[in-house]
């Protein structure tokens, strides 16, 4: 791919289904958000948790320079950013789990400190897996969870990003949450 393609064009192309563009955009977003997460940790006193909305917002400004998008591209951006945030947390959980088991002592960075994500890495990985299964059955619910939980969007903002009504988001969220809890904490019964 031509090196001169701008990030904005990447977003367009990714939205149109260009996988190479999407991969490229993914790695850009990943490195940007990861870096920003580390910076946020440095700037705040110890013990703070991440504010994903702020991160995504800042990554957006840095990558696209404050340029405003039309609806569709906005939706794509947010969906992608939410997925990237999810990946960052999952990757971090994997590393922490390895560290707990006495694996490499190397720390990948501040995002690996347990307090940052405030959760047990095992739970996060279980959530990730359950979310995958949810996505197989019902993509909309999985996206709602990604946007709400990993990207930190409010119900209204989710609705805009998904182009559905807030009521739908609320219903989907509630159901998804119950289902995921059942998958992770409850019996593994069919659902």
């Amino acid at each position: 791919m031509d090196a001169d393609v701008s990030v904005t064009q990447l977003l367009h192309m990714a939205g149109a289904g260009d996988d190479a563009a999407r991969d490229r955009l993914w790695s850009l977003l990943y490195s940007e958000l990861h870096r920003l997460a580390e910076h946020q940790m440095v700037a705040e006193p110890a013990g703070q948790t991440l504010q994903p909305t702020a991160l995504i917002h800042e990554a957006y400004l840095r990558l696209f320079g404050g340029r405003n998008f039309d609806c569709q591209n906005r939706q794509h951006f947010f969906s992608l950013a939410a997925k990237v945030m999810r990946q960052i947390r999952v990757d971090s959980a994997r590393r922490r789990r390895r560290a707990k088991r006495g694996g490499e002592a190397t720390r990948e960075g501040l995002t690996d400190q347990a307090a940052v994500f405030d959760e047990d890495p095992i739970e996060m990985l279980a959530l990730d897996e359950a979310l995958d299964r949810l996505g197989d059955r019902d993509p909309l619910k999985a996206r709602v969870v990604e946007l709400r939980f990993f990207a930190g969007l409010s119900i209204d903002d989710c609705a805009a990003a998904l182009d559905v009504s807030p009521r739908t988001v609320d219903n989907e969220w509630r159901f998804a949450r119950a289902w995921l809890h059942q998958q992770i904490a409850g019996n593994e019964g069919k659902a």
């Binding site: 504010q51 917002h57 039309d70 209204d156 903002d157 805009a160 949450r177 809890h181 904490a185 019996n187």
Partner: protein
């Protein structure tokens, strides 16, 4: 089918949830009579829905949307929060709601402010506790005492922080109090000095207020100042922008007025006590004059922050002559953009006020001359201010009415329709806000939203050129529309008058009305003039003669010369102040320059002029030196005579290396029949080609066999003028070349 079952389970789940718990069993009994398996699934989900702890899959902190008005009484009234019983709502704003509450021990009335931010986890709560402790230690007669801070779990399971503060009976904002009680200047100053002492006390304890405005400087029924909301913004959320995200644009602009320039900038760490001094300065200004120092009403937020950061405040003495002298100096010192020039503490500000009241000399020095408004370098560079970025964030998040309103109403660009019969002003969300129309092909030149400097006192401009196809009143004019004020009537319209024409043209009975705006660009040509200028080429309908004009933002013609070139492209070399123009020369030719011959193809030329301010002439820029302001800086032909008809288009491009920006340009030539054939040349500000930087496109290589060498496209010096024949006159028979097929003119 599994999909149907899934949906059915969900529908039952939602339905069951909408019923009271007791009725669910019966509902499921009847709804799932046929399929007990489904019932089991639904019940399992319901169980997990209620059992999952709030921390499970909890969304990170986000501001609560404001309760829409008329939604019934505030749910907290009558409730207890800690040992406080909520009585009634005192007021509410973007940050939260203030209630009157009754404390049990000791029994007294307090003000309880519930803040609009959710703190779900322990680390944020710890931080909140710490900051509240600091606030509780602020004890000063003019600071509303914070007694306690805590968190409360509401009915939705959200954790809300609250502050319990001293109740200020009969409290009014300082400006309202002064107006109601008809206070004179000295009394107002005395009250204001109390506020400064309070803020200073906070500073000594290490707390910056960050949100000083009249609403936070209250006066009670005993004329005692009580400053409230000290550092509250900090205690609940480190990012001020987040807490204000859901406020109404109107109240946000209201808060903006009191924010210091550094607060408007991106760096919240750059805040110190002097930001509070600035905000106090704004309050003082308002107390003394009844007005605010900047006019930002009706401006979009990014524009408003720019006004605050860059333009000079109105002088109080202009509003009220009695404020001339020391008092004005005090106000303006507090309002200095440069922090180092303000009072370095609120105590310093209070001290000067006291000196003034005692008729002593003040410490602040008057500024010798207020500097003019900042010189505007074209479009404003992207500045991610806390506010602007917040608005952008609203734009990308969308969905909230504030964001939608912004996206739909904020102008972004002017676009011309494909058939050039209309130009549209479109919003950030690509909604059409306004349409300027013309006859088909009637709109040619457009320059996008131009930001005037704040001192100009006008909104953003869109420049539209109407050409000869339009037979309306604006035919052949360039019109400037103030899109923030009136989009229908142009602020001014520029056109060529017959008086402007060179004598040679008037002799041929040409009129000004035959010239249409062909090219329009906004450029900062003259540094001495505030803001950008509008450079325009007005071309004759069918001759190559054009007028090169430079207008200021008010439509004054600052420069005018004539060109005998059909200008195709224009470039600005900022470092040497040259306007570079390229096009087809209507006059010069090769065999005998000066002799106009319709059979000889007209060469493409590129040349540069250096405009002078207030030079308005009806003479042509000529190729020969020695004509003063009409002399070009340099003048070249593009290519040898043989290349004349091969060069189809001429264009300017930016140099590829940023180091060359402003001193070099790239000349792009479209060769031959095909669009793909291109030839690029890098040229410096002396008109010299950098031969190493030549680039040929692939297609051209194939057609290259028509040319002996690429030198045929190189820039050439003009051949010497041999015969100077006045434009338009027929060459005499004795002069014409018998071999040529010259038909004369």
């Amino acid at each position: 089918m599994p999909g149907d079952r899934w949906r059915m389970v969900q529908a039952l789940f939602e339905d069951a949830l909408s019923r009271p718990v007791e009725g669910r069993g019966a509902f499921l009994d009847s709804a799932c009579a046929a399929d007990p398996g489904v019932r089991a699934e639904v019940e399992l989900l319901l169980k997990h829905d209620s059992q999952a702890p709030p921390e499970f899959l909890q969304a990170p902190p986000s501001p609560l949307p404001p309760t829409p008005p008329g939604d019934g009484p505030d749910p907290l009234i009558g409730q207890r929060i800690g040992q406080y019983e909520i009585k009634r709502v005192i007021g509410s704003g973007g940050m939260g709601t203030v209630y009157e509450a009754e404390q049990q021990r000791p029994k007294r009335l307090v003000a309880l402010k519930v803040v609009n931010t959710v703190l779900p986890n322990r680390s944020q709560m710890r931080r909140f506790d710490y900051e509240s402790e600091v606030l509780a230690r602020l004890q000063h007669p003019s600071i509303a005492q914070v007694y306690e801070a805590g968190t409360h779990r509401d009915t939705l399971g959200r954790t809300l922080p609250y502050f319990v503060m001293e109740y200020v009976p009969g409290a009014q904002p300082i400006t309202a109090y002064a107006a109601k009680s008809n206070l004179g200047t000295r009394e107002r100053l005395a009250l204001f000095a109390q506020a400064c002492e309070a803020v200073h006390h906070g500073h000594l304890k290490g707390v910056i207020h960050r949100d000083l405005k009249p609403a936070n400087i209250l006066v009670n029924s005993e004329r005692q100042v009580k400053v409230i909301d000290f550092g509250v913004a900090r205690a609940t959320d480190s990012d001020v922008a987040v807490t204000t995200m859901h406020t109404d644009v109107g109240s946000l602009i209201g808060t903006l007025q009191y924010m210091s320039p550094e607060q408007c900038e991106a760096d919240p760490l750059g805040l110190d006590v002097r930001s509070d001094v600035y905000s106090l300065g704004v309050v003082l200004f308002e107390l003394l004059t009844g007005m605010l120092p900047y006019c930002v009403a009706g401006r979009p937020i990014p524009s408003a922050t720019r006004v605050i950061c860059e333009s000079q405040p109105t002088r109080p003495s202009i509003i009220d002559r009695k404020l001339r002298g020391d008092l004005e100096i005090i106000v303006l010192t507090a309002l200095e953009k440069d922090r180092s020039k303000r009072y370095q503490s609120a105590g310093g500000l209070a001290a000067d006020i006291q000196r003034y009241l005692r008729h002593e000399a003040i410490s602040a020095k008057p500024r010798s001359r207020w500097t003019k408004a900042v010189h505007w370098a074209g479009r404003h560079p992207r500045v991610a201010t806390a506010i602007a970025s917040m608005v952008i964030a609203l734009g990308i998040i969308g969905g909230t009415t504030l964001a939608t309103r912004y996206l739909n109403r904020e102008p972004r660009q002017v676009r011309i329709a494909d058939d050039r019969s209309a130009a549209y002003l479109v919003s950030v969300a690509d909604r059409r806000l306004h349409r300027w129309h013309s006859l088909r092909d009637g709109l040619r030149a457009v320059e996008d939203l131009i930001e005037p400097p704040a001192s100009a006192g006008m909104g953003r401009l869109a420049i539209i050129g109407y050409t000869c196809a339009d037979t309306g009143a604006l035919r052949n004019s360039i019109c400037a529309y103030d899109i923030d004020a009136n989009r229908d009537e142009p602020l001014w319209a520029g056109a060529i008058a017959t008086d402007d024409l060179p004598p040679i043209l008037t002799q041929r009975n040409m009129t000004g009305g035959e010239f249409f705006p062909d090219l329009v660009r906004a450029l900062d040509v003259f540094p001495q003039v505030d803001g950008v200028e509008i450079v325009a080429v007005h071309k004759h309908e069918n001759r190559t003669s054009s007028a090169l004009r430079i207008y200021d933002l008010r439509g004054e013609v600052l420069y005018q010369t004539w060109l005998d070139v059909h200008v195709k492209a224009l470039y600005w070399l900022s470092s040497s102040g040259q306007i570079v123009l390229a096009g087809t020369n209507g006059r010069a030719f090769w065999s005998e320059r000066g002799h106009h011959n319709i059979k000889t193809p007209h060469p493409k030329v590129v040349f540069a002029v250096r405009p002078e301010l207030n030079f308005r002439s009806n003479q042509y820029v000529v190729e020969e030196p020695g004509n003063g302001p009409l002399e070009p800086v340099w003048y070249r032909c593009i290519g040898k005579p043989e290349a004349c008809d091969l060069i189809r288009e001429v264009n300017f491009l930016d140099p590829l290396e940023t180091a060359h920006f402003g001193r070099y340009f790239r000349l792009n030539l479209t060769i031959g029949e095909s669009e793909d054939s291109g030839y690029d040349v890098l040229v410096d500000e002396k008109g010299q080609e950098i031969t190493d930087a030549r680039r040929l496109s692939q297609m051209l290589a194939l057609t290259w066999d028509r040319f002996p060498s690429p030198d045929y496209l190189a820039l050439q010096e003009l051949p010497p003028a041999t015969v100077d024949i006045p434009y338009g006159s027929a060459p005499e028979a004795s002069r014409s070349n018998p071999k040529s097929t010259n038909k004369g003119q």
